[in-house]
């Protein structure tokens, strides 16, 4: 009923291939954007921004990045944490070396540097596939964390090896450092999320994305029909690392403010983002958001429910949290191996016919 196509006429190819072909979806998309930009900033506080919105937005960017590599191009990667660390440390070095340049450009440049590193570690993908590639990217994860812990130049020779974000502004509004307002950090990250999602969506439905998907579906067939595996795979690594680098830079500079590489960008982070992609749905931009929301929000909701409302001991709640999140992941993947995005797609198809199914 909501999803009716009757009366929604398309008279050109451009209209026919738009991202949201159904009118209701289109309006919903604009409504979400309007609420995100026009309503939430006025009502957000420190708790909401640091416990829910910033992690959700930043992990969404990381998940989109990994989804491009793993979901669209079929190259399994366990190096996400390491690439996020590259983004964070690049951003830190840029912030301290060029304090007068806007942090906005530093974040983008940090993404660019990560793209370079990503290409470097993507080179083995030309020879190896699947599990073997996963192990190669795992090596990237450990190597990158090790080098950021080992070489003092990366953390400006600070005594503890921690990096902390100095205060930086955008149009005179503080977005990093301790004195930031909740709405400013939120909007700053939101702008990046919208840009990244828009870019990713348009890349994946154009020539580049088709090449990636051809490689994913069958690389030999793709090569025969004229897709160059070298450029396709390396461009996927570059674009994916670019987004992950942006996520890492925001994670460090805007969200946490101080970072210790071994803990924050360890192997757990790689797994977390990979789970987001798998649960959300491989090869779907919406799935990246859904997966990030699922894994960021669920623990917070469970904690508030078990400890805040029911008053259970914190350790019992923490253990139960693991069990419930783990069980839900299994249930979701058994019920729908293609993730939340596929569930959503199925629901949408049903709604389009409702209440008169065939």
């Amino acid at each position: 009923m909501l999803y009716r196509e009757a009366g929604d006429f398309k008279t050109s190819y451009a209209e026919d291939s738009q991202t949201f072909p159904i009118k209701f979806d289109r309006w919903r998309y604009y409504a979400v954007l309007a609420v995100a930009f026009g309503v939430i900033p006025f009502f957000i506080n420190d708790y909401w921004v640091s416990a829910i919105f910033l992690p959700f937005l930043i992990y969404s960017i990381a998940a989109i990045g990994l989804n491009i590599l793993t979901g669209y191009c079929g190259q399994v990667s366990l190096g996400t944490g390491g690439f996020m660390a590259v983004g964070a440390y690049a951003c830190y070095k840029l912030m301290t070396a060029f304090p007068d340049i806007s942090i906005f450009f530093h974040v983008i440049l940090a993404g660019g540097i990560t793209a370079g590193v990503g290409i470097l570690f993507g080179l083995p993908s030309l020879r190896i596939k699947g599990f073997y590639l996963a192990v190669a990217t795992l090596a990237a994860q450990f190597f990158l964390v090790w080098i950021f812990n080992r070489v003092p130049w990366f953390y400006n020779y600070s005594a503890t090896g921690q990096i902390s974000a100095p205060e930086r502004t955008v149009f005179g509004v503080k977005v990093t450092g301790p004195e930031t307002d909740a709405w400013a950090t939120y909007l700053f990250c939101l702008v990046f999320v919208v840009l990244v999602a828009w870019l990713a969506r348009n890349l994946t439905r154009g020539t580049v994305g088709r090449k990636w998907m051809a490689i994913r579906d069958m690389d030999i067939a793709a090569e025969i029909i004229g897709v160059n595996p070298l450029t396709a795979k390396l461009s996927a690594f570059a674009v994916s690392s670019f987004f992950i680098g942006i996520a890492g830079a925001l994670f460090f500079a805007v969200y946490l403010g101080a970072v210790e590489v071994g803990e924050v960008f360890g192997i757990n982070k790689s797994f977390l983002v990979l789970f987001m992609v798998i649960i959300g749905g491989l090869g779907s931009i919406f799935g990246s958001f859904a997966g990030a929301a699922f894994l960021v929000l669920l623990p917070v909701i469970l904690k508030n429910l078990l400890v805040g409302t029911l008053g259970w001991p914190t350790d019992l709640a923490a253990h139960l949290e693991f069990m419930i999140v783990g069980a839900l992941i299994i249930v979701f993947l058994v019920a729908e191996p293609h993730g939340l995005a596929q569930l959503w797609r199925v629901a949408k198809d049903k709604l389009r016919l409702w209440p008169f199914p065939h």
Binding site: V39, D46, Y47, E179, G257, V300, I301, T314
Partner: protein, 427 residues
């Protein structure tokens, strides 16, 4: 509107806060994760002391204490979430119990005007209250620990360390790296040779480090470990037959959990401490009557008297004394975080006070001031007796080498002030 939005989005997150008491304290504890074995006794001691005050005295100055516990799992992100989730409830002081979380929260807590007490951990140069007005790390800090360990070794060696080899086995994080600068400065002064052996989080893999120790045969090994890393290190030291009385841990590497798994082999292992050990204190009788026997003990109630339980209790005691000081200063019983800060800055711990609390001789005497947020740096050395199954102090409390430490603290806090744009001031 916000409420509507919130309920629409995720109603469950807007969970009701616990009933508001007049004095709210927080415990950012970790009873789960790789550091849980050491996190649990501390959290129990901290909680039990406040339970005792509530049950026996009806709180502090007539105000009941509401302790809000939040599980961090020693994870920085969760720690930040805990901080943001609880700060709205008027928490008087934060004790993050993790150097990583401390570094994260120093700027935030300062901006929010909420004091933070990082007892024996955190950022050492926070001792300079002119630069860190809201951060306190009395009664001792890591650099004191490093200096006390070296002084102890020097005493053992008859005062001369020239040409000796000392190895530092440390957790490869901000926490473990903290003493390096001090140990290097002390090496220049005393002429020993320092070798650094980092161990990565969480610390189960230390084979190569201990192989290196077996090869290099350092005269002493100092350890900055926490959680599972300690147990593994002690076991590895036993395996290579390293003389245990030449192996000295910082105070976070000196609990029963760390030495018991190695059995008799751990006999003679030493660890620093800035408070006394064991349960031979009058307060334990009160704890038994009012907390344990009434079934209000935290956790499983089986940690009483352990080293880390005592430390948690000590932290709670220092916080409670600061609340009392703040109440006296302001004349109000329901104090604010700002008044709490003043109370902490004017805290004075004397032998008479500790004795009155049922903890005679439990820790060193010290007095906090704006210039000195870190106490006087007194510590002692404890040794593990495997047969008796207990730690005992083998030295008196003695002071760290202030001559070396004062300029280091000055330098590091000045660097922070320049970096963060803080104008140092004591008024």
């Amino acid at each position: 509107m916000r409420l509507k939005l919130a309920t629409l989005a995720l109603g469950a997150v807007m969970a009701a806060a616990p009933a508001m008491a007049e004095i709210t304290m927080s415990a950012l504890s970790y009873r789960t994760g790789p550091y849980a074995a050491n996190g649990i006794p501390f959290a129990d001691g901290y909680q039990d002391y406040f339970t005792l005050l509530n049950e026996r005295d009806g709180g502090i100055g007539g105000e009941m204490i509401n302790l809000v516990e939040c599980e961090t799992g020693y994870n920085t992100e969760k720690g930040v979430e805990c901080y943001e989730a609880t700060k709205g409830e008027g928490v008087l002081v934060y004790q993050p119990l993790s150097t990583g979380i401390t570094y994260q929260l120093i700027p935030k807590a300062t901006a929010d005007g909420i004091p933070m007490h990082t007892m024996g951990y955190g950022r050492t140069s926070a001792k300079n209250g002119a630069v860190f007005p809201y951060i306190f790390n009395y009664p001792a800090n890591y650099w004191d620990g490093a200096s006390i360990a070296i002084t102890h070794i020097a005493n053992e060696e008859g005062g001369d360390l020239t040409g000796k080899k000392i190895a530092l086995v440390y957790h490869n994080s901000a926490y473990g790296k903290e003493p390096i600068r001090t140990l290097e400065s002390l090496a220049e002064k005393h002429g020993y040779e320092l070798s650094l052996l980092p161990v990565d989080h969480p610390g189960q893999e230390q084979k190569s480090q201990w192989l290196q120790i077996r090869r290099e045969k350092p005269d002493y090994v100092i350890m900055w470990g926490w959680g599972v890393m300690n147990q593994v290190a002690v076991q590895e030291a036993v395996n290579i037959r390293y003389p245990m009385d030449h192996f000295i841990g910082i105070w976070w590497s000196g609990s029963e959990n760390d030495v018991l798994p190695a059995g008799d082999g751990a006999n003679g292992y030493k660890a620093l401490t800035f408070h006394n050990l064991g349960d031979d204190y009058p307060i334990y009788a009160d704890l038994k009557t009012h907390v344990v026997d009434t079934g209000k003990a935290a956790g499983a109630g089986d940690q009483l008297g352990t080293a880390l339980y005592n430390r948690g209790m000590y932290a709670a005691m220092l916080a409670a004394e600061a609340i009392k000081t703040a109440q006296e200063m302001s004349g109000e019983s329901a104090i604010t975080p700002a008044q709490m800060r003043d109370g902490m800055e004017n805290l004075e711990i004397t032998e008479a006070k500790m004795a009155a609390l049922g903890l005679p001789g439990f820790g060193p005497e010290f007095k906090v001031s704006c210039e000195n947020h870190g106490g006087d740096g007194y510590g002692a050395v404890a040794q593990w007796d495997a047969a008796a199954g207990e730690w005992s102090l083998i030295t008196d409390y003695y002071q760290s080498d202030q001559e070396i430490l004062a300029p280091l603290i000055e330098e590091d806090s000045a660097a922070y002030a320049a970096e963060a744009g803080v104008e140092p001031a004591c008024n």
